[in-house]
Each structure stands twice: as structure tokens, then as C-alpha cells.
């Protein structure tokens, strides 16, 4: 019978705490930057001009159809050979997760904008609004309401994807766990703890997403 021993882990609390901080920090960065990239890519893909929408379509497909782990390793090991620019593990991580998340965010944003009834745009245009005013005042405020639940889900994915940073020796929660496992020969306890920590962060987030979904579904329509 296996003897559980969580007491040994107590002395590593600072290491775990640092990992926790890295995981959350990187999540915030890649979510914010990813949303920005996604907004730009999503809106540009709606352009009727092919020379604007085309390159963004290529970007989205490229990043949706390759595994994020492959992208991460490619940015860290392959890109420097191509460009001569050395990336730190952190930079490679932010770059790949931002672009990967951005590709998915952009599809959510594009879908949200398309889902708004054409009559809304016509009403804004009839008032003399420019395309920009129409987006900002009429379409996006309504579209964002509908986009919020899938955007939250995608952001949850982003947090989970930060665990891949351990591959580049970024001291996130999982990487710190690996260090502790090597040190203590207690992988069962530490990896269980890591799993529980992810769960504790994400459960409230998924509950929030569910709540938002329910709230949206009884939204008023004109």
C-alpha cells in the first residue's frame, strides 16, 4: 500500500507559489494580446477586399491547423535560425500562445459579428454612420455579448496551454512540479497537487462561463 506523503511538499511551497504566479502571469499576457490579435484578425477577415482578408485567413488556418506545442518549439528553436533573432523562452512562449489563441479568438469574433442581423447595420447606415461608427456603436456591443461565453472558454484553454511552457523551462506550475518531483521522488503527490491547483483556478472560470451563457440566452432582442 502506497504511503501518501504531502508533508514533504510543504517545504516547496515557495517554488509552487512562483509557478502559480508564472502560470497566471503568462495567462493574462497571452489572453490580452491574443484578444487584441484576434480582434484585428477577425475584423480584417470580414473585409470584402481579398488582399486584406486573405492574409488573415492564411494566418488563422496556419495556426489552427498545427499543434500549439509544435508552434512553441518552432518559435523557440527554428525561428532564430531563420531570422538570426534569439528569443528567450518567455518571448517564444508569448509569441506562439498569443498567435495560437488569436487565431481561435478571431474566429469567435468574426462569427459574433456575422451573427448580428443585417438590419442593425442598415439602421446605422440609414442614420449616416460610417463603417467604423457602425462597428463601434451598434455591431460590436451586441456581438461582444454573444461572444463572451466562447471567449471565456477559449481563455480557459489558454491557461491550460501555458502548461506547455514547461517544455521550454519556463518555471510555470507544471515545470515547478517537475523540479519538485525530481527532488523528492514523490511524483504522485506533487503532480496530484498541480492538477488540483489547475482545477481550483479553472472551476470558478467555467462556472462563470456557464452563468454568462445562461444570462446571454435570455437577452432581449428588438
Amino acid at each position: 500500500m502506497y504511503q501518501w506523503d504531502f508533508h514533504t511538499l510543504w517545504q516547496y511551497r515557495n517554488i509552487i507559489f512562483i509557478g502559480f504566479g508564472y502560470t497566471l502571469g503568462y495567462t493574462v499576457i497571452v489572453v490580452v494580446l491574443g484578444l487584441l490579435v484576434g480582434l484585428i484578425a477577425g475584423l480584417c477577415r470580414l473585409s470584402p477586399k481579398a488582399w486584406i482578408s486573405g492574409p488573415f485567413r492564411a494566418y488563422v488556418e496556419l495556426f489552427r491547423c498545427t499543434p500549439v506545442l509544435v508552434q512553441l518549439i518552432w518559435f523557440y528553436y527554428a525561428l532564430p535560425i531563420l531570422t538570426g533573432i534569439e528569443l528567450t523562452p518567455g518571448m517564444a512562449a508569448v509569441l506562439s500562445l498569443t498567435l495560437y489563441g488569436g487565431a481561435f479568438y478571431s474566429e469567435i469574433i468574426r462569427g459574433g459579428v456575422i451573427s448580428i442581423d443585417a438590419g442593425q447595420s442598415e439602421a446605422g447606415m440609414a442614420l449616416g454612420m460610417t463603417q467604423f461608427q457602425l462597428m463601434r456603436r451598434v455591431v460590436l456591443p451586441q456581438a461582444f455579448k454573444r461572444m463572451t461565453p466562447p471567449l471565456v472558454s477559449q481563455s480557459i484553454m489558454q491557461l491550460k496551454n501555458t502548461s506547455l511552457l514547461s517544455v521550454l523551462a519556463v518555471p510555470d506550475l507544471l515545470y515547478q512540479g517537475q523540479i519538485i518531483a525530481h527532488d523528492t521522488y514523490r511524483p504522485l503527490e506533487i503532480y496530484s497537487l498541480i492538477a488540483v491547483l489547475y482545477f481550483i483556478i479553472l472551476l470558478p472560470a467555467t462556472i462563470l462561463a456557464k452563468r454568462l451563457e445562461v444570462k446571454m440566452s435570455d437577452g432581449r432582442e428588438a
Binding site: P141, R220, A222
Partner: protein, 256 residues
């Protein structure tokens, strides 16, 4: 009637192979009310949408309030988006399905064009919106959201929203077609009062009785052409064309 407020010449519009408007010319005097009737697919809604350029004509000239835009059929000569937007702000449009902004209150809906397009200060716009809501009989619903209103109330808000731009003309695209019969009257009352105030209006409508009552001129369209136009006493009561007669006969029994 002093001078033309709307002047359309040689307007053409195709959607693919389908010719929707075939060389339409039309004059609407200042302060006059024109009712456009005709079977669905006759091009009357497209014509209305060409007047505020929500649908861009293939060729022809559209002139509203002395501002004219020429379409010569070449893609390169399309007016700039900003010029189109400015042109549109001078015409008020009321849609069949209201198209109110659901995320804004009734008052904010009416303020939106004034604040965003005309750059009127919020205080001033709010006062103007309240006055307009009073005018359409909804002064007490300023803080309601569109989703809480009946169809007739929504359409009256939509009229107030269009009026807020102080347009030269008001265009009504089947403004009562989506309403329950008992709610049609309240919207027609508002349109009637606008006519009495001398607003230039074009109504695309199936309310033949109302067209007869309120319009100075009735236009009957079919297959992208104006078949017949003139005072309601002529076009509705004594149509010269067989096509007009056969269309109107369908309304005789239903009472319009």
C-alpha cells in the same frame, strides 16, 4: 409644392441577371407624400433603398434636397463611403422590422444618430429625444429597452430615431407590414401627423386605404417599371392600366 425635394432620373439596378429597376425617373415635390404600391418583387422597396443609397444603383442620378449623386455604371466612380454616409444622414428611413438597437434604451436609440453622426452634445440630444418621444406618444417609455415594447411602439420609436436627424425626407419601407392589425393604427397616426406637418415622405405600403387618404401621389410599380402614377383618386379609384386594376382588385374585398 415648391420645387422637387427628390429627383430620380434614369435609375437602373440589377442583381445579377435580374433587372430590378428599369430606367426609373421620379420627382417628389417638397412636402408631398408619395405612396408606392405594387406586388412584391416589383422593385418598390429597392427603389426606396436607392433613394438613401442603402442599395447602390447601377446607373442614374439620385438627388435629395439639392444634393445629387451620379452613378455612371463604372465601379471606379462609386462615391466615397464617407460621402454616402453624409448623404444618408439627410434621409430618414423606417424599416419593416424596426431595426431598433436592442442594447440601447428607447431614449438612447433616438439620441444615437444625433450624438454619433451629428455630434450634438448629449444634454441637448437627450432633450431633443424626449421631445420626439413625446411627439410619437412614448414620452413615458424613454428608459425602456426595445425588447419590452410592442411592435407598434417599436415602430414609433424607429420613426422618432429617424426624425432626430432632421431629415429632408422620410422613407417608410412597409412600416406596418410586420405589425399585428390592432397596432397598425397608432403608427399610421404618427405618419398622418408628419404629413400634416409638411414632411416629404415616400411610403412603400400595402395599406391601400391609407395610401388613398394620406398620399398626394400614388405610384404603381410592377416588374421594375412605374406602370402608373398620379393622384390617388385616379390611380386607386380609376386606374388606366389593366395591371393596376388587377392588383387593386385583390384589396377590394379585404378592405385594404
Amino acid at each position: 409644392m415648391d420645387g422637387a425635394m427628390i429627383s430620380i432620373s434614369n435609375l437602373k439596378k440589377c442583381f445579377g441577371d435580374n433587372i430590378v429597376l428599369k430606367d426609373i425617373s421620379l420627382q417628389v415635390g417638397k412636402g408631398s407624400v408619395v405612396a408606392m404600391i405594387g406586388p412584391s418583387g416589383s422593385g418598390k422597396s429597392t427603389l426606396l433603398r436607392c433613394i438613401n443609397l442603402l442599395t447602390v444603383p447601377d446607373s442614374g442620378v439620385v438627388d435629395v434636397g439639392g444634393q445629387s449623386i451620379v452613378f455612371d455604371g463604372k465601379k471606379t466612380a462609386l462615391p466615397k463611403a464617407r460621402d454616402l454616409a453624409k448623404f444618408r444622414s439627410k434621409t430618414g428611413m423606417v424599416f419593416q422590422h424596426f431595426n431598433l438597437f436592442p442594447h440601447m434604451t428607447v431614449q438612447q436609440n433616438v439620441m444615437e444618430g444625433m450624438v454619433t453622426v451629428l455630434k450634438i452634445p448629449k444634454q441637448e440630444a437627450r432633450a431633443a429625444a424626449d421631445a420626439l418621444l413625446q411627439r410619437v406618444g412614448l414620452g413615458d417609455r424613454a428608459d425602456a429597452y426595445p425588447g419590452m415594447l410592442s411592435g407598434g411602439q417599436k415602430q414609433r420609436v424607429a420613426i422618432a430615431r429617424a426624425l432626430a436627424m432632421k431629415p429632408d425626407v422620410m422613407l417608410f419601407d412597409e412600416a406596418t407590414s410586420a405589425l399585428d392589425p390592432e397596432l397598425v393604427g397608432e403608427v399610421l397616426n404618427v405618419i398622418r401627423s408628419l404629413a400634416a406637418d409638411g414632411m416629404t415622405m415616400i411610403l412603400v405600403t400595402h395599406e391601400i386605404a391609407f395610401a388613398k387618404e394620406v398620399a398626394d401621389q400614388v405610384i404603381f410599380m410592377r416588374d421594375g417599371v412605374v406602370v402608373e402614377s398620379g393622384p390617388p383618386a385616379v390611380v386607386i379609384d380609376n386606374p388606366a392600366q389593366e395591371a393596376t386594376r388587377s392588383f387593386l382588385s385583390r384589396f377590394k374585398n379585404s378592405g385594404g
